[in-house]
């Protein structure tokens, strides 16, 4: 947010404050926006970890560590925005670790389950 205050004054074209931006192999001297600097680096999603997509309360857990689960099985009920969301699994797996307990309030992007993928 500081950018605006700075920009209110005339921008001094100051060589040392510029950064390099690589476009098609060419490095351009320029300034970067705060939005650009805040952007998230892309990471390959890890299919064995399940994170919460919304903050809420764990109302019910249907599984235990070590359980073998099949595609379509219910894992838990997450209450968020006054709605009870059924969380189920789209593939077969073994549950390696459960990081939550019933009644727990969890934030967004909280690690809920860790799986071990199974053959069938």
């Amino acid at each position: 947010m500081k950018n605006i205050i700075n920009k209110k004054k005339d921008v001094e074209v100051n060589e040392t404050s510029f950064k390099n931006l690589n476009i098609e192999g060419v490095k351009y001297k320029t300034s970067l926006t705060s939005k650009f600097e805040r952007r998230k680096k892309w990471e390959i999603p890890d299919g064995t970890k399940v994170y919460s997509f919304i903050p809420g309360t764990v109302v019910k857990l249907f599984v235990n560590e070590g359980d073998k689960i099949n595609a379509g099985d219910k894992l838990m009920v997450l209450e968020a925005m006054k709605m009870k969301n059924n969380i189920s699994v789209p593939f077969c797996a073994k549950i390696k670790k459960i990081n939550i307990a019933e009644g727990e309030r969890i934030p967004k992007e909280h690690l809920l389950f860790e799986f071990e993928l199974t053959e069938d």
Partner: protein, 514 residues
């Protein structure tokens, strides 16, 4: 009762309404650092030009003991006036009356003045300062918003619509400003959001202040909802007045012409732009070097600053400028900058404002975040807007015009009327470095000294293609010009394009990618 006594009675009634929500509520408004609705109207419009209507309107709500409450003017002031002599319809929500909440009669007053603005074909200014829907009036209040949104859309492109956010504007209410042409916000006073901090805390557990959620800075820099940022209400009013001087009253009129003025001598066009295309400079100085009195009025200055949009005058007439900004992100096109420029192009086209485009860009911003944010869909908006626009379009290629960026920035192919290029312009499918690496990959790889070969091939490519003459040989560029001639040619291009006519096939409307 004599007429004189009746006039006294009228005065008494008026004085009551003029107090709005009463002295205590006014004190509160002042304590928040805000002007009252009436003070705002008076500060914005020409002296003694404001005339108020529907002063004695009363609400009709009967439930929840509302029948015992008197809400002067039902929390909104409407009227007509002038700004620098230009006729204006205006409404201002009065926060001192029931928090400026919107009930049925409040909405009817707003829609009445909107209908007036459409009939009279004059600009509409709306000052928003409201707690939102008046809950006691239930669905009537929602109906009120809907009627306003419908009129905003119907008036879009017919009369200029200006929204001024001077207080809260939350929930559904935000969509009226969002449908209008220009949104003005003031630091620490304006707040816009769909769901407020309290709801976000309850359902999501995230804590955030109103200012950080939807203050003027957020909407000016991050969301792009706001077009103008001011640090005080008075500065905001000056910005509105200045904007009014640049735009026409409606879509069948031209913007008022001013006496032509020369640009200020301190903006010397040749000394602004470095020869090396990798070095930055402020494109706004180039615009200042060609517009009358070097007066460039920038729109959305802080959002997507890698593209610059705004108004200036050439030989006294309003022109809309779109220009890549090498100072920020090397002037690339990306999701936000395409969106920003496309909407501005459509604005200028709707209101018959000629467009001038300055081109200096290395291409599109690479990155997963850009691709996943839909740079294809958003980038297409700019192509659509330029292709569709039938106002006079003049393009000046300053340095780099590579690849898809060259096409998108109002090229000949999107029907620019005139394309000029400075002698240092590089119009090519990509920058020499990238192109040489692809075309001469084999030679470079097989060379004894690949680095030396790469440099040699880059130079070869540069000498052959990194200039404006290849495009000029095909007629894609109309003239290669001395930078000093830029203003002269812009004056001429706009002068000869006055009666430009384009025949387009009959259609209900196109389907732009939004």
């Amino acid at each position: 009762m004599s007429l004189k006594r009746k006039v006294l009675e009228l005065k008494k009634r008026r004085d009551q309404v003029l107090l709005g929500g009463g002295e205590k509520a006014i004190e509160k408004q002042v304590a928040m650092g805000k002007l009252t609705a009436r003070e705002r109207i008076l500060a914005l419009l020409d002296k003694e030009s404001f005339h108020e209507y529907d002063m004695f309107v009363e609400h009709e709500a009967r439930d929840f003991d509302m029948d015992k409450k008197i809400l002067h003017g039902d929390g909104v002031i409407i009227g007509t006036g002038t700004v620098y002599g230009a006729p204006i319809c205006i409404f201002a929500q009065d926060f001192t009356v029931a928090g400026g909440s919107l009930g049925l009669m409040h909405a009817r007053k707003i829609t009445k003045i909107m209908d007036h603005a459409m009939k009279l074909r004059v600009p509409l200014i709306g000052i928003n300062d409201s707690g939102g829907a008046r809950i006691q009036e239930g669905v009537n209040s929602l109906a009120g918003y809907g009627e306003i949104f419908f009129r905003n859309t119907a008036a879009s492109g017919v009369i200029p619509q200006i929204s001024v956010i001077l207080g809260p504007c939350a929930g559904g209410a935000v969509y009226s400003p969002a449908l209008t042409d220009f949104v003005f916000m003031v630091d620490n006073i304006s707040k816009m959001f769909i769901t407020g901090p309290e709801v976000i805390k309850t359902v999501l557990g995230e804590e955030i202040s109103m200012e950080d959620l939807g203050g003027a800075r957020v909407h000016s820099e991050i969301t792009g909802n706001a077009h103008f940022f001011a640090t005080s209400e008075l500065e905001c009013f000056d910005q509105i007045k200045k904007l009014i001087t640049f735009i026409p009253w409606n879509n069948s009129k031209k913007a008022l012409a001013f006496a032509p003025k020369k640009p200020k001598s301190k903006y010397k066009i040749e000394s602004i732009v470095p020869g090396d295309p990798k070095l930055p400079y402020d494109i706004r100085d180039v615009i200042r070097a060609v517009v009358d009195d070097s007066d460039f009025f920038e729109v959305q200055e802080y959002w997507a600053a890698n593209i610059v949009i705004g108004f200036g005058r050439i030989n006294g007439e309003t022109v809309g400028f779109v220009a890549n900004q090498p100072l920020v992100l090397a002037g690339v096109l990306d999701v936000d900058s395409s969106d920003k420029a496309a909407r501005f192009v459509r604005y200028c086209d709707a209101f018959d404002i000629p467009l001038v485009t300055f081109v200096d860009l290395p291409g599109y911003l690479p990155g997963v975040d850009q691709e996943h944010a839909g740079v294809i869909r958003h980038g297409a908006k700019l192509l659509y807007a330029y292709s569709e626009a039938t106002v006079p379009k003049t393009t000046v290629i300053i340095r780099k015009a590579y690849g898809g960026g060259y096409i998108a920035m109002c090229s000949r192919h999107l029907r620019a009327d005139f394309v000029f290029a400075w002698p240092g312009a590089e119009i090519a499918v990509m920058g020499p470095e990238g192109a040489a690496n692809i075309i001469f990959r084999k030679e470079i790889m097989e060379a004894e000294d690949p680095e030396k070969m790469r440099k040699q091939k880059i130079k070869e490519y540069k000498d052959k293609f990194a200039n404006p003459y290849v495009a000029a040989a095909k007629g894609y560029v109309d003239a290669v010009i001395d930078p000093e001639e830029t203003r002269k040619l812009l004056v001429h291009a706009i002068q000869v394009s006055k009666d430009k006519t384009v025949y387009t096939p009959n259609k209900k409307h196109g389907i732009p990618p939004f």
